[in-house]
Amino acid sequence: MEERIRSIRQARALLAAAMQGCELPQIEAMLRNADMELHWALWNLGEPVPLRPELG
């Protein structure tokens, strides 16, 4: 499980990098939704994450 959690955290970091400076609203919305789902995955694995993904 630790390995899976580590992978999800890495995926969020990659998404954050991809979102930075994104000028296409469509792609930005997709990346934001993907990050929301990964935040939700961490939450449902009992990981300590903020209440909303954009809070940290």
Binding site: W40, N44, G46, P48, L51, P53, L55
Partner: protein, 449 residues
């Protein structure tokens, strides 16, 4: 697809880990509302409380003030639509719903996109536990409107990946024809409407127990978990497995059904709950009946902390199904506002309904009428005998007498039981109104006056 649980990792998490997680999340929630919700900032300030003061679960339960729906409604009426209860910029609100107004004025409920995802997820635990899978197709037998309950079922269907078939504004016969034509495998409706549909189908010469429906799943009013007799009726009528979920529009679909069938499990990823003695505010122990007090982690648009549900529940901390999530045995046993005390005996709505459901000569249409007599609450059961007895008025009084005796034997209280002609009481597509409160205003909860 053979997994027993939707998420075994958290559904069977040991209690100590769950409690540690709750504390951490409640502390974050207190900071969140203090920074973002003018309503809760004011409430915590008035209580002389700062978010950092919450160091234990006991601190949270007993220091954070209770919230009642009437406070929210007052704030919203003064400054519509949401007033200071909103904790996010209004442009983040992606869905507006309203409570059904069962107990008074409807409450405006804003959700962010993320709130809708998390809300929908709650349904999936129960659906998965019952056996519903992505290959199933869900038939929604209701008009959508503003009612949060069934919108959240739609969010669940999208999460699970099921096919959605909307019955929209069809009438009862239209729903039955659509089911026979489109062959969905799951019926989503209020429990009483599922029975109504089966009865109308029989009049149309259609036996829905032979239809494509394999599961029925319900919410909105006491159903197959709270009322075993109703489970038997629904499962027999539809030839299907019946499931139920307990939700509150402004909170979450927070307690999906237990596959054992005798209760619902609190989704402890989405909410934190405890039981309170409504008379003195003390916490009640496991196995005792108390008011369910709920805090939601997933309503970031309109957070709710220590929210008074007014639902009376009995919690158990273990279950044969293997979930460690708190079980509410029999779902909701009654309401603090609709509970009547007749000569010192508490009478719970579902207890009476269960006994009525065991009488084969009584239809599923009945009302519980609350009045005041000689400074006491009183309850009268107004019921319809089944249609086959429409011409047997002599039999109606005998059934009323049997019902009264049955209730007295089981609950130690004598209620008046009044028969009325079959097909004369109102029918409902959404929540069935069982309670007719005719007590003077001063004997009702403020919200219901």
């Amino acid at each position: 697809m053979n997994a027993k649980f939707w998420n075994e990792h958290t559904e069977t998490m040991p209690r100590e880990k769950l409690d540690a997680l709750h504390l951490q999340r409640l502390q974050k929630l207190c900071h969140y509302v203090y920074e973002r919700s003018p309503f809760y900032r004011g409430k915590l300030d008035a209580a002389g409380l700062k978010p950092g003061d919450i160091r234990t679960l006991e601190d949270f339960k007993h220091k954070v003030p209770l919230t009642d729906k009437s406070e929210f409604i007052d704030q919203q009426l003064a400054n519509p639509p949401y007033g200071p209860t909103l904790a996010v910029p209004e442009d983040l609100v992606c869905h507006h719903a309203e409570s059904s107004g069962t107990t008074g004025k409807p409450l405006a409920i804003p959700y962010t996109m993320y709130d809708t995802v998390r809300y929908g997820e709650s349904w999936v635990y129960g659906m998965w536990g019952l056996g519903i899978r992505p290959s199933d197709s869900l038939y929604f037998a209701f008009g959508w409107g503003n009612f949060a309950g069934f919108w959240s079922t739609y969010w669940a269907a999208r999460r699970l990946g099921c096919r959605v078939i909307s019955g929209g504004g069809l009438d009862t016969k239209g729903h039955i024809n659509a089911i026979m034509r489109l062959k969905p495998t799951v019926l989503i409706s209020t429990p009483t409407f599922a029975l109504r549909m089966a009865a109308v189908a029989a009049e149309m010469g259609i036996d829905v127990s032979k239809s494509s429906i394999k599961f029925t799943y319900h919410a909105g009013e006491p159903g197959p978990t709270a009322l075993p007799a109703m489970r038997e009726q629904i499962e027999k009528a539809w030839g299907a497995k019946a499931g139920e979920l307990l939700g509150i529009a402004e909170i979450d679909a927070f307690a999906p059904g237990c596959p054992v069938g005798d209760g619902v499990h609190v989704n402890e990823m989405n909410v934190f709950t405890w039981s309170m003695d409504a008379a003195n505010g003390n916490e009640v122990a496991e196995g005792e009946i108390g008011e369910n007090i709920i805090t939601s982690y997933v309503n970031s648009a309109q957070p709710l902390l220590n929210y008074r549900s007014h639902d009376l529940v009995r919690r158990r901390m273990s279950c044969a199904c293997g979930r460690t999530w708190t079980k509410l045995e029999g779902a909701v046993l009654g309401r603090t506002d609709f509970m009547v005390t007749v000569r010192g005996t508490n009478v719970y709505q579902t207890a009476v309904e269960n006994l009525i459901g065991e009488m084969p000569e009584v239809s599923n249409s009945y009302e519980l009428i609350l009045t005041r007599e000689a400074d006491n609450d009183a309850m009268t059961v107004r019921f319809e005998p089944i249609k086959a007895l429409a011409e047997r008025k002599d039999r109606w009084e005998e059934i009323a007498r049997q019902m009264s005796e049955k209730i007295q034997k089981a609950l130690h209280v004598r209620l008046k039981c009044e028969p009325v002609a079959p097909e004369t009481l109102p029918r409902y597509e959404l929540k069935t109104k069982r309670i007719v409160d005719q007590r003077p205003k001063e004997f009702r909860r403020a919200l219901d006056r």
